[in-house]
């Protein structure tokens, strides 16, 4: 696979057949090494040890598919002369497109909001769709929470799921040991998660960039391991079950008298609870968004963004970077705590299984793919990722494989995320969107 980007520009459609042939041979060799080794042979347990199962046919088809795919790429994409590839758009059209997308962007948020508000009452909405949108909204909320830490303050956090876990376990344990209700636990879970955010924040104040990333990852793993092994308290791998459901201002969603449907004179339906859950997570997510947008305009929000751009300049201007970082961790953690207790009450059962690293990676991927620091981007990325994940439910075992591939492809296609413009929080006279390239992001100072 020779580097095509460095090829000399040639007029018109032209293929150097020698080069293509050489490239295809190399591709074939690599594909044979990769797929010939792992698809063609498979070890299976047999009497007295392992036995080798041979599947040359599948390996052959996969290798052939790779070569044909590469040939098609050569024929249809890489044969054009350099400079006229589909990616390059003239500057005039580009700025025009930016204007249009800015206009669309302005209307997009409110439209989505109205759609989200009426969604449960639309005729085609069934239980499955509602459950899926609750899941998507949970990730939107987590994405917005992480956006504070990564997108605004520029602190790369790979252990965000730890706060989610703390929120979920706080509610489950408080309900189990003290019988607290959901509405009492929700703020408590947020406070506890924020508190843990500060505890984690203190030791990592001096760390930068990837060091910070790896320590937060370690922190996430530590929380999970403790939850897994502290059997007497957390139930270990068995998890906690029978977590109480939330009530509607004291009205439980039950068939009995004094329940929600009885009070409002409706026929009992389990659908009511799902709709209630939907609005609950919608309200929580909107609260996250509202608080974030307000904070961005307050001194603390500006301090976060200043910290992201240049830590040394921040310090020389007299900002207390320690407290700025700690508030970012605390507030980001708090929203994850809220989301966690919502997760616990929705599922009714939690175990450490739900809080693995892959979950942190998923939330981070949503934030980065959406375009860090962009609130709308998080929504689009959540719908794309979680929705896409559901579409491939049929393909069961290939689902994660496709998911991983999609992550790679989208990232290469749009490294700055789907929404690549940013609205500055402070401006002179007129609000102007700036390109994401102008903003330092997640450089992790």
């Amino acid at each position: 696979m020779t580097d095509t980007a460095n090829g000399a520009p040639r007029p018109g459609r032209h293929l150097d057949f020698g080069k293509v042939a050489k490239d295809l041979v190399v591709t074939a060799l690599i594909a044979t090494a990769i797929f010939g080794s792992t698809i063609a042979f498979r070890t299976v347990s047999a009497a007295g040890g392992l036995r080798l199962e041979v599947r040359y046919d599948i390996a052959f088809y996969v290798i052939a598919a790779v070569i044909v795919g590469r040939l098609l790429l050569w024929l249809f994409f890489w044969s054009k002369p350099a400079g006229t590839s589909a990616v390059e758009v003239p500057a005039g059209i580009k700025s025009g497109m930016a204007k249009v997308s800015a206009k669309v962007g302005k209307g997009f948020g409110p439209t989505m909001l109205i759609f989200a508000l009426v969604f449960p009452f639309l005729p085609f909405t069934d239980r499955y769709l509602l459950d899926l949108s609750i899941l998507i909204l949970t990730y939107v909320m987590l994405g917005w929470g992480l956006n504070i830490v990564v997108g605004l303050a520029g602190l790369l956090d790979l252990g965000y799921v730890a706060f989610y876990a703390i929120g979920a376990y706080s509610y489950a344990l408080l309900a189990q040991y003290f019988g607290f209700s959901f509405w009492m636990c929700l703020p408590l879970a947020g406070i506890l998660a924020a508190f843990w955010g500060i505890i984690l924040g203190f030791p990592v104040l001096r760390l930068r960039g990837d060091y910070l990333a790896i320590v937060t990852l370690a922190f996430g793993e530590i929380i999970r391991i403790v939850l897994l092994n502290w059997y007497q308290f957390t139930g270990g791998p068995d998890g906690l079950s029978g977590i109480p459901r939330p009530s509607f201002f004291g009205l439980p969603f039950t068939r009995r008298e004094g329940g929600f449907s009885d009070f409002f004179g409706l026929d009992y339906s389990s659908f009511h609870r799902i709709v209630f859950m939907y609005f609950l997570i919608l309200a929580l997510a909107l609260l996250t968004n509202f608080v974030t947008n307000r904070l961005r305009r307050l001194p603390i929000g500006r301090a976060w963004e200043a910290l992201r751009e240049d830590e040394i300049a921040c310090r020389s201007l007299g900002l207390n970077t320690a407290s700025v970082k700690l508030t970012a961790f605390a507030i980001g953690g708090m929203f994850a705590g809220f989301a966690g207790s919502f997760f616990a009450t929705r599922q009714g059962f939690i175990s450490p299984e739900s809080f693995t690293f892959i979950e942190s990676a998923l939330i981070l991927a949503i934030v980065v793919l959406g375009g860090m620091g962009s609130q709308v981007g998080v929504v689009i990325a959540s719908i794309a990722m979680i929705g896409g994940f559901e579409i491939f439910r049929e393909a069961e075992q290939f689902r994660m494989l496709i998911f991983g591939l999609a992550m790679v492809v989208i990232m290469i296609w749009r490294p700055r995320g789907l929404i690549s413009t940013r609205i500055p929080s402070i401006f002179l006279r007129e609000k102007k969107a700036v390109s994401a390239d102008m903003v330092a992001q997640g450089e992790g100072h």
Partner: protein
């Protein structure tokens, strides 16, 4: 005392494996400044390839020691080559297009590749744990305590430690003496300047991934032989610990990675031996946090100068 000595031997063996993986992290981080999240999974893939080759060769414990060692060299070379191809391809497909892009983009693709590799192996090789009967048995009894507790140094452990030392020496020499190593060190210091001086930066970075993957393949075979069980998920935990080791030793430093690996291996072994086996990972990760707080550049790393 005897118990301590035994744990020391076990810890050094485990530390050698971590050290070999950590080198891949530290070299890649040194040269392009990214955490290659998929590195742990390259290690996992390579141990599966080693298992396939061992099964294909029909190696068992009854094969003579001389023949076993010859066969294992064949296994090692095969899995090193194939793992290198995996490493090279991931770099070419997922990281090179993002070179010069912002820092987080390759991290996300690396996580994506890690998910892809794990699920690819789960689909093609099955989700079940793969057991391998021990191929090399016996060893030396170094000491016997009054109550019959013996300090054992198994042949397997000798093999692992020897192979690690040999390969470490070879790779240190490659980096110190060859033109490839010089190019790597030049790219690490200043990539733009290196390319101005005629070094093919892309090729050098590719070679770094190939070397890292080859060493991960060595660790993969050692892990397979030592523990005798592998599954598609071993890459994550081993990868995180090896990265911890690389950071602990001072990222970008080869001896540092080896030292960090040994320290992590020893901490983990002693913690499991004297305290609790469940919390051994917590001990290793806490150690990482503590070291980074008090010694941010790691044990052997150069202090980072902050410039405006």
């Amino acid at each position: 005392m005897e118990y301590f000595l035994q744990q020391l031997i076990n810890g050094i063996t485990l530390g050698s494996i971590y050290g070999l993986i950590a080198i891949g992290y530290t070299m890649v981080y040194g040269i392009i400044g990214m955490i290659n999240f998929a590195h742990g999974d390259i290690f996992m893939v390579s141990s599966f390839i080693a298992l396939i080759v061992i099964t294909a060769l029909g190696l068992t414990v009854s094969t003579g020691l001389g023949l076993t060692i010859l066969a294992l060299i064949l296994v090692l070379v095969t899995s090193m080559v194939i793992a290198s191809v995996f490493g090279w391809t991931t770099e070419r497909l997922a990281y090179r297009p993002l070179r010069g892009s912002f820092r987080l983009a390759p991290l996300i693709t690396a996580i994506g590749i890690s998910i892809v590799l794990q699920n690819y192996i789960q689909i093609t090789q099955g989700a079940r744990v793969k057991p391998l009967q021990p191929l090399i048995e016996n060893g030396y009894t170094l000491m016997t305590r009054a109550d019959g507790f013996t300090v054992q140094l198994s042949n397997m452990q000798i093999l692992i430690i020897t192979v690690t030392i040999i390969l470490m020496t070879i790779f240190s020499l490659i980096i110190a003496k060859t033109s490839l190593g010089r190019a790597q060190r030049a790219c690490e210091q200043d990539r733009k300047m290196a390319s101005l001086l005629g070094i093919n930066v892309d090729r050098t970075i590719s070679m770094t991934f190939v070397m890292g993957a080859a060493l991960a393949a060595v660790a993969g075979l050692m892990f397979l032989l030592y523990y005798g069980v592998i599954d598609f998920f071993i890459g994550f935990v081993a990868g995180v610990k090896a990265f911890t080791a690389a950071v602990l030793g001072g990222i970008g430093s080869l001896p540092g990675a080896m030292l960090g690996g040994l320290v992590i291996g020893l901490i983990e072994t002693f913690w499991s031996a004297y305290f609790s086996i469940e919390y051994k990972d917590v001990a290793a990760f806490s150690m990482l946090a503590i070291v980074l707080i008090f010694l941010p550049q790691g044990l052997l790393g150069k202090p980072e100068v902050e410039k405006v």
